[in-house]
């Protein structure tokens, strides 16, 4: 199956040279700044904000034109005296795949965005 794909599929992507986490970090941070910057936690808008963050981040990452599948997750939590813990674990090709995490906060909320990039092997 995979050798058939090599013969017949040609995608207009540049070959990945390892995931550029810094580039992804900057892209995502700009998206979060744009959506949440200057805003206070608001129950009415929060769903729209998290959806905007993941959609805009994904759009910008795909526009890089690199041969990756992407998974972008975003969690926004209202600031309180209580704890908020996240963790992730991945089973993949450590030489080609990669991840970056953007942590953002303001006076009323914390935001954690994870980007996972899986190299497309042709």
């Amino acid at each position: 199956m995979r050798s058939l794909l090599r013969a017949w599929v040609a995608l207009p992507f540049s070959l990945p040279v390892g995931f550029n986490a810094e580039e992804a970090h900057n892209i995502v941070k700009d998206c979060v700044d744009g959506v949440l910057g200057g805003e206070d936690y608001n129950h009415n808008n929060i769903n729209q904000w998290t959806a905007s963050i993941v959609e805009q981040s994904l759009t910008h990452l795909v526009k890089l034109g690199k041969a990756y599948k992407y998974i972008v997750t975003c969690a926004v939590v209202q600031k309180s005296a209580y704890g908020f813990h996240t963790a992730s674990s991945c089973f993949w090709d450590t030489t080609a795949d990669g991840t970056c995490t953007v942590r953002w906060e303001n006076r009323t909320m914390n935001c954690v965005v994870n980007v996972f990039a899986i190299a497309i092997v042709l």
Binding site: M1, R2, Y41, H43, I46, N47, W49, T50, A51, I53, V54, E55, S57, L58, L61, V62, Y68, K69, Y70, I71, V72, T73, C74, A75, V76, V77, Q78, K79, S80, A81, Y82, G83, F84, H85, T86, A87, S88, S89, C90, F91, W92, D93, T94, T95, A96, D97, N114, F116, I118, V121
Partner: protein, 109 residues
């Protein structure tokens, strides 16, 4: 390392159901891993260790399924206190073979 292992096994899989993401099967594995990691009997003050335990046990159970998939497992744990928590995710992948499932778990502690 792990990619070579998966490539070697891919030739063994003929049936399509073994190479597509089966949400129900994965959901059950995740629930078992959560209950094992932070269920009754787990010490309460190890709160900051729970997220690590959940993702590690979940990943371990999933890889044991022996299917030709890479996996990404994330976990969020938050104390119930009335504050809002919202999550979203978006994916750019091959929708015919790739998939996801989300388990929301409420505990009384």
């Amino acid at each position: 390392g792990c990619w070579q292992h998966l490539s070697g096994k891919m030739e063994d899989y003929q049936a399509t159901e073994e190479t597509t993401f089966v949400v129900d099967e994965v959901s059950n594995n995740v629930k078992e891993a959560i209950e094992s990691a932070i269920g009754p009997g787990v010490v309460a003050h190890a709160f900051n260790q729970w997220t690590t335990n959940v993702v590690e046990q979940t990943l371990s159970q999933l890889t044991k399924l022996g299917k030709p998939f890479k996996y990404i497992v994330t976990c969020v744990i938050m104390q119930k206190n009335g504050a809002g928590l919202h999550t979203a995710s978006s994916c750019f992948w091959d929708s015919s073979t790739d998939g996801s499932c989300t388990i929301a778990f409420g505990l009384s502690i």
